[in-house]
């Protein structure tokens, strides 16, 4: 067996371990990722939509819908890899035992990425179904594409979470990471309002992987956009994945080994 295959297999065992722990508190674990987008859609989409005119030829609820898929991917990945990983690393000492087995830091990190990819893909599928039932998807086939985009988006977002987990000195410091990094990314990346007339913000948002995911999901849900633009955003997500993923690996290795 090749080294790569063994490594992937061990990383998969980490995914299985996470799943076994996750399902013990399934309802508690799944609630925020489902409830938040549902409430957001109800309050802003259904509640506010009638008071707002058309945006880019769409009702506000339709405009908002794909952003909810992106949001669920962002939050699933970030919280799992920041709080979740930090708790596993410090309070539960999971890796102190895990790293005595054939699993190494590389497999731990790849396992986390696989885990958030799968979780975000499933959540994206779930949110997509709800949006479809609410009649908010112009392109109904998008529900089959959401899981892929959601999963892809989750990996660089998870890497940001791992970087946060490697840097914080205690669990409270995640609050700052959320307030000053994740929340701005979430609120300002075109989920809630179009960035077409905002030259500065419109450029800045390119610096986070989230915006590229949002755009891909919007293009899919609305059934509009060019192949060129899609290719651009996919490439951007891949680049973020590679750069942030390797950086996160390096930092986590420093935390787990000395």
């Amino acid at each position: 067996m090749s080294e790569f295959y063994i490594s992937l297999q061990l990383a998969w065992h980490v995914v299985v371990r996470n799943w076994m722990v996750y399902r013990k508190d399934f309802l508690a674990n799944i609630s925020p990722t489902l409830a938040d987008p549902a409430l957001m859609m109800t309050a802003l989409g259904l509640g506010l939509s009638p008071f707002i005119g058309q945006i880019e030829g769409l009702s506000y609820a339709q405009y908002l819908a794909p952003g909810m898929v992106a949001t669920t991917a962002l939050f699933t990945a970030f919280f799992e890899c920041s709080y979740g990983f930090y708790v596993r690393m410090t309070f539960e000492s999971v890796f102190k035992a895990m790293l005595t087995t054939p699993i190494g830091v590389r497999e731990v990190v790849i396992g986390e990425f696989l885990w958030v990819f799968i979780r975000a893909a499933l959540m994206a599928a779930g949110v997509g179904l709800v949006l479809a039932v609410m009649g908010l998807l112009a392109n109904i086939w998008s529900i089959f594409i959401f899981p892929f985009i959601g999963g892809l988006l989750a990996v660089p977002c998870g890497a940001i979470g791992l970087l946060a987990a490697a840097h914080v000195r205690n669990i409270n410091q995640f609050q700052s990471v959320y307030s000053f990094l994740i929340a701005p990314i979430y609120f300002l990346s075109g989920v809630f309002f179009p960035l077409t007339d905002r030259p500065i913000l419109g450029v800045l948002v390119h610096l986070s992987p989230f915006y590229h995911g949002v755009r891909l999901l919007q293009m899919t849900a609305w059934g509009r956009g060019s192949f060129g633009e899609a290719a651009f955003h996919v490439t951007a997500i891949f680049l973020f994945t590679v750069v942030l993923g390797l950086w996160a690996f390096k930092k986590i290795r420093q935390r787990l080994t000395i």
Partner: protein
Amino acid sequence: MPGPSRDIPQSAYQAGNPTIRARGVSKRFGEFVAIEKLDLDVRAGECVGLLGPNGAGKSTFIGCLYGVVERSGGELKVFGHDPTMEPRRIKQRLGVVPQENALDEELTVLENMRIYARFEGLPKQAALSRIEELLIHMSLDHKRDATIRTLSGGMKRRLTFVRALLSDPELLILDEPTTGLDPTVRHLLWEKVLSFRQAGKTTLVTTHYMHEAELLCDRIVILNRGSVVGAGAPRELIAREAPGYVGIFAQDREKVLRTHMRAGWDLFYQGRQCCIRAPQIEDLMSLQRASGTQALQIRPCNLEDVYLKLTGRELDDNE
């Protein structure tokens, strides 16, 4: 990184190469020296005890053995492999009982073990029968479906032993295996460790209990501030470093006792008691007569005396 195998042939390796071979191993954290030029061999089938005060470098050295601590210098081979280069080749043949159990509290006993059997690459059926066998061995089979949260400290520790043994490792590393456990569990675990030794497994154990070290280990290595300050078989170490007998006296008799002591004897304190070490038991008898003082206890010197002497906690007032 995967590369061409630098494996020493199994036969040559077992013919006498030590399971662990450390030469001049050092670990520095910035200015702080955790391990200083450590030399240590652990031969196949041997049980070696690593003793030393907290912060002496025991756990750091253990971490070096399977690659979670990257040594700053020196040569280190475990099963003939360098832990920095090929940690997995070592970890496949290694079982570790870490200081913390690190069990998944919300999962059951069986679930925890099945996860680790996967990590170790055991096929499903083989894993189940191996887990069952070890749970019986550790008297935990009735707790198969219990959540870890509901287990006692002793049960969790026994389960951590089960986890370390899943892959039937050749080398066992026990980092303070019985700290905080009641005497019953401690005795059970000692019995198990002795049975591993009988089965030919190599064991490296750290402990703060001298009695435990004396009972389990063929050889003791005492560390202090990252360096070896004493090594040898327990009896040998005692005979060399602290031979003879210790008389324990009430503290207020110190002055009288001191006047009757002879050269070569040691006087030191343990708590509120005054201890005198002399080569022969008769020496202490005559000291009692001469000083008109009855000792509270007279006992042969033990590993604890050696430990306290070598790690510099003994107050040597004999100069």
